[in-house]
């Protein structure tokens, strides 16, 4: 037992220990009977100095009470169950670590996917996760240049046509007609219209 701890106990006996220190010391005192005995001896000094009368046999009273309470079941009001804590805490730590790892993996995968844009990457991931044969073929995303695949393009066109036929100016159709070229958004619809209008002339 070091002097700093004994000094803390002395200050606690006087009610002069700062709150932060007192809380920690109280827990140590609860756990360690030898610390409580030291506290008792510090309190006895004050009584002896003040010549307070001691009732013969009072020094054993604490032990008598402790012995009488030894067989009593400790209360458990509003307490976190120590057993549960003992097992839950490490598992909670592992679970948090695992979650972070999964998030990091998913994040990394998404970053990789968006950078590489390999058509098969998504399908492979799906097949690996499900551990079943992939029955769904992921449509090939846009190529590096930002041009949609032929299948996707035809879908956009059909969607746009049906939207126009139903009198709706499809915003999505309009949006997907933009294409990223050398970090610039090019309106493909306007460009197609311009090309179409240009073609007869060039054919002449």
């Amino acid at each position: 037992m070091n002097d700093a701890l004994r000094e803390q106990i002395s200050a606690y006996a006087d009610g002069e220990l700062p709150e932060q220190e007192a809380e920690l010391l109280l827990r140590r005192l609860e756990q360690d009977k030898s610390l409580r005995d030291l506290l008792a001896s510090h309190m006895a000094v004050g009584r002896a100095m003040r010549s307070e009368p001691e009732v013969s046999g009072i020094g054993n009273l604490r032990d008598r009470i402790s012995t009488a309470l030894a067989d009593e079941k400790p209360f458990n009001l509003g307490a976190k169950t120590p057993v549960a804590n003992r097992y839950v805490k490490p598992f909670a730590g592992v679970a948090i670590a695992a979650s972070v790892a999964v998030l990091a993996l998913v994040g990394f995968q998404q970053t990789t996917d968006s950078n590489v844009r390999t058509p098969t990457a998504g399908a492979t991931a799906v097949a690996q996760v499900n551990n079943e044969p992939a029955v769904y073929t992921v449509p090939a995303p846009a190529t590096e240049s930002g041009t949609p695949s032929g299948r996707l393009q035809s879908y956009y066109v059909r969607h746009g046509e049906s939207a126009l036929a139903s009198g709706v100016n499809g915003i999505r159709s309009r949006l997907v007609s933009f294409e990223l070229r050398e970090n610039e958004l090019i309106d493909r619809e306007s460009e197609l219209e311009r090309l179409e209008s240009d073609q007869p002339d060039s054919g002449k």
Binding site: D3, R6, E7, S10, A11, A13, D14, G15, E16, L17, P18, E19, A22, E23, L26, L29, E30, Q31, D32, K33, R36, L39, A40, S41, H42, M43, A44, V45, G46, R47, A48, M49, R50, S51, E52, P53, E54, V55, S56, G57, I58, G59, N60, L61, R62, R64, I65, S66, A68, L69, E72, P74, F75, N76, L77, G78, A79
Partner: protein
């Protein structure tokens, strides 16, 4: 941390199953309760038995203690009732019937104890006083002043620091060293 805050924390810890916290409460209040009980019964052994019973009752009732009153007030009432019940069982009257013992604030805990000291207890007390006085005289001036201001004059550390013109941390250290030196001298004399 105030006295009542410390008690409330200890009570919570007992309610959560920490028996060591109850030992701290016993340590803190055992002398007060024994002195209180001795207002009802003259016999020291009987007073200790009743005090023990009061503490056991308090422990068993702690799950129902909601902190609406201070722990000591609650414990005080349990002790008074335990002593009264004991006297009722013996069909005797308490010694200090004129006092309102239901009120812990009105009660001077050491008022009548000297009247009921046995010759052995008086002799023991005199011996203890002599040892304590010698131990105090052997202390360096600054330690002796600090412990006297604290234990006999009841000053706070801050007041002592002001009186002695030194930091509070120094006061804390001086009181500890003085107390430690005296405790070593009287250790073994107190049972």
């Amino acid at each position: 941390m105030t006295d009542s805050a410390t008690d409330a924390q200890l009570v919570r810890r007992v309610q959560q199953g920490e028996k060591g916290a109850f030992d701290l409460l016993v340590l803190k209040y055992q002398h007060k309760i024994v002195s209180l009980v001795m207002r009802y019964v003259r016999d020291a052994d009987l007073a200790l038995d009743i005090t023990q019973e009061a503490f056991l009752k308090a422990y068993r009732a702690l799950p129902r203690f909601r902190g609406e009153s201070a722990f000591y007030t609650w414990l005080y009432r349990i002790a008074v009732n335990t002593a009264k019940n004991h006297l009722a069982a013996q069909r005797r009257r308490p010694m200090d019937v004129e006092l309102d013992l239901q009120d812990p604030e009105q009660y001077d805990i050491h008022a009548n104890l000297k009247d009921i000291d046995t010759p052995e207890a008086v002799s023991m007390s005199n011996e203890l006083n002599k040892i304590v006085m010698n131990a105090m005289e052997a202390l360096p001036d600054d330690l002796r002043t600090a412990i006297i201001l604290r234990e006999l004059d009841g000053m706070t550390y801050e007041e002592i620091a002001e009186t002695m013109d030194c930091p509070v941390g120094t006061v804390r250290s001086r009181i500890f060293r003085a107390r430690d030196a005296i405790a070593k001298k009287i250790d073994g004399l107190l049972d």
